[in-house]
């Protein structure tokens, strides 16, 4: 490694601030408790079940009858769902301005569609102001991309007929926030398709009417965008699995199919186990796979029964819906089958039964369940001293791997967030070598808290984090060893 090639840049220490993740996580827990008690497989009765469970939750969490009745009053009468967090806030509350990172979706005419915090209708004048800003620039045949006001940065993504805006004081790079807005835009497309959305908007129909209930997926996606390394690297994380077992699974997925089947995917949370393309068609892009994972992990009822939903994959074809069959085979293992026929539910359900049968043979199911529990690893597995954390992306197939946080990062949520934000800056710097129009080959960042070394090639990107007290020499050595370790593990870390 040539030391001269290494760039020594200091990344500005911008305000890296922890967000309100604790609250969102709490939401998820509530969600889980709903599903664990939900024994009824009939999807029609989901609403009632949810409401019962909500009542149970309240009774568990509060003993005061007054609290319960207050809570029940807040439950949205029409949907039977509990109120969203912060739904009572709007731009007239000082607390609303305290949130570090706001996301807004509005139509090109300035009508509100979604706000991460607060009720979007109550925020309609605020959104109109945002719309006026971008339309003012648009009238000069230009596009508003971002602006800075004091400690806040505004990032705009205008994709007719939607305007997406993020206002944040987190100091994240504009490019990263733009990528997050692109994800959110794709989620909306996946619900409506681009052509439907245009038609609906141009017929002056309120887009909110067709996006009812989507806020749950948007909230979850935004939460994920703020912590998921594989999204940051524009890649997919694979479940760590013995290569032979994975091949067997892939064979089973390819074997059991029907005429209308386009893709079979097996996922575990936000990790890909295997994917098979049955037809001559374009492959699935990582952004679409993340959207699918987001749907699966934010919908409790998918765990209870087989589901059949229309979905548009924006990077595959943003004009049409595909039909998606979803079924959890085992806890944490979800099968996704894509069809182009609206009537193929029963055929796909048969496929699923055969796939399960196939997996039960030769103990593959057991191996798979074990792998789901053993996926997480820490840096200690690499036996590289002083390695604190790393991110690796295989650029040939867009798969990535990274350990879970270990000390010092695992101790405080703030530290995890700080490292995440630091990686956001470093990935942006590494990939924005404007002069050469390709990523920097080497990058070296050192600060009081850590040293991060980066090397990129045509085939990979590796970001490795070490203690700041390490010498360059020992870091180079460890870095090479880490690359070697990954090479040796590639069979199980990535789908081959």
């Amino acid at each position: 490694m040539d030391e001269n090639n290494i760039e020594n840049k200091n990344i500005e220490n911008k305000n890296v601030i922890d967000e309100d993740n604790s609250k969102i996580e709490k939401n998820n827990i509530d969600d889980n408790s709903i599903e664990s008690n939900n024994n009824n497989n009939d999807s029609n009765s989901n609403d009632n079940n949810e409401e019962d469970e909500i009542n149970n939750n309240i009774i568990n969490s509060s003993n005061s009858i007054e609290d319960i009745s207050n809570y029940l009053l807040k439950i949205d009468e029409s949907s039977g769902r509990p109120p969203r967090k912060y739904s009572e806030q709007d731009s007239s509350n000082p607390e609303w301005f305290e949130h570090k990172k706001h996301f807004f979706i509005l139509s090109s005419s300035g009508k509100p569609i979604y706000s991460r915090y607060g009720d979007e209708v109550a925020l309609n004048t605020f959104m109109a102001s945002l719309s006026a800003m971008s339309s003012f620039v648009e009238s000069q045949n230009d596009t508003l991309r971002h602006l800075v006001a004091g400690k806040y940065q505004f990032v705009f993504l205008c994709k007719y007929p939607l305007n997406l805006v993020c206002i944040s004081s987190t100091g994240e790079p504009n490019q990263v926030i733009r990528q997050q807005l692109e994800y959110i835009h794709s989620l909306i497309i996946s619900v409506l398709t681009q052509s439907n959305m245009k038609a609906v908007f141009e017929a002056k129909y309120d887009l909110r009417d067709l996006l009812g209930g989507t806020d749950k997926y948007l909230d979850h996606l935004i939460h994920q965008l703020n912590k998921d390394f594989s999204i940051l690297l524009n890649s997919i994380q694979c479940l760590r699995l013995n290569n032979n077992v994975r091949n067997q699974i892939t064979n089973i997925l390819s074997q059991y199919k029907c005429d209308s089947l386009l893709f079979s995917l097996l996922i575990s949370d936000n990790k890909l186990i295997s994917q098979v393309k049955h037809k001559k068609t374009t492959s699935l892009k990582s952004q679409d796979i993340h959207l699918l994972m987001n749907y699966v992990s934010s919908t409790a009822s998918f765990k209870e029964s087989e589901s059949w939903i229309p979905i548009c994959l924006p990077n595959y074809n943003d004009t049409y819906f595909l039909h998606l069959y979803i079924c959890f085979l085992y806890p944490g293992v979800c099968l996704l089958l894509f069809s182009n026929q609206p009537e193929s539910f029963y055929q796909l359900s048969d496929c699923k039964n055969q796939i399960i049968k196939g997996l039960e043979q030769e103990n593959i199911a057991e191996e798979l369940k074990k792998a789901v529990n053993n996926h997480d690893y820490t840096t200690s597995i690499t036996e590289i001293p002083n390695l604190l954390h790393f991110l690796y992306k295989n650029k040939t197939n867009n798969y990535s791997t990274f350990p879970t946080f270990s000390p010092p990062y695992s101790i405080h949520k703030k530290e995890k967030k700080r490292l995440f934000r630091l990686y956001q800056h470093i990935t942006t710097h590494v990939n924005s070598n404007i002069i050469a129009n390709k990523p920097h080959k080497y990058y070296y960042h050192t600060s009081q808290t850590e040293t991060i070394m980066v090397a990129t090639s045509n085939n990979h990107e590796l970001y490795a984090t070490f203690s700041p007290l390490e010498t360059k020499k020992s870091i180079f050595e460890s870095f090479s060893n880490l690359l070697l370790w990954i090479k040796n593990q590639e069979n199980s870390l990535f789908i081959q």
Partner: protein, 203 residues
């Protein structure tokens, strides 16, 4: 995004500088009036919730700047408006004569599907200064009739005369338009992925 939606209407107020657009809006939303004139810069936004029959309607009111130097708000500004309110000052003839160009400007910029039936409302403001009046009610009403029976109200933002009624009509007419909409997607789902470019073989 609750599943059952309240109707949200985008209402744009247009008219010459100083006719009282901001005052009308303030009187309607905040029940306040100030004699002091402060030019609107660019645009201002207010919202009001009201009942029309048994429906809850939220109005998003876009108060624009009448001064010419601010009139570069562009197409996007007018896009998707549900109703356009044209204002003039009954005591200044020029403001009435300019209604034609305000209406044309809106129709060109917003490009509504059915321009002949797009809901406009005309407000003749400052009727509290009756002795100075130069535009007669008859003259205004006949202009409105010639433009496809635009509802016409004579208002005073200062005395709160007819303001509530005018906005009620604005909302009602805008909703009528919305109710007439036919949802553009005939069947819920159309499925058939287009033949994709054959990039790679089967895996």
């Amino acid at each position: 995004m609750a599943t059952k939606k309240k109707v949200l209407l985008k209402v744009i107020i247009l008219g010459d500088s100083g006719v009282g657009k901001t005052s009308l809006m303030n009187q309607y939303v905040n029940k306040k009036f100030s004699n002091q004139y402060k030019a609107t810069i660019g645009a201002d936004f207010l919202t009001k919730e009201l009942m029309v029959d048994d429906r809850v309607v939220t109005m998003q009111i876009w108060d624009t700047a009448g001064q010419e130097r601010f009139q570069s708000l562009g197409v996007a500004f007018y896009r998707g408006a549900d109703c356009c309110v044209l204002c003039y000052d009954v005591n200044v003839a020029k403001t009435f004569e300019n209604l034609d160009s305000w209406r044309d400007e809106f129709l060109i910029q917003a490009g509504p599907r059915d321009p002949d039936n797009f809901p406009f409302v005309v407000l003749g403001n400052k009727i509290d200064l009756e002795n100075q009046r130069v535009v007669s009610q008859k003259r205004a009403a006949s202009w409105c009739q010639s433009k496809g029976n635009i509802p016409y109200f004579e208002t005073s933002a200062k005395e709160a005369i007819n303001v509530e009624q005018a906005f009620q009509t604005i909302a009602r007419n805008a909703i009528k338009l919305e109710d007439g909409l036919v949802f553009p997607i005939p069947t819920g789902i159309q499925v058939q992925p287009e033949p994709q470019p054959q990039q790679s073989g089967c895996c």
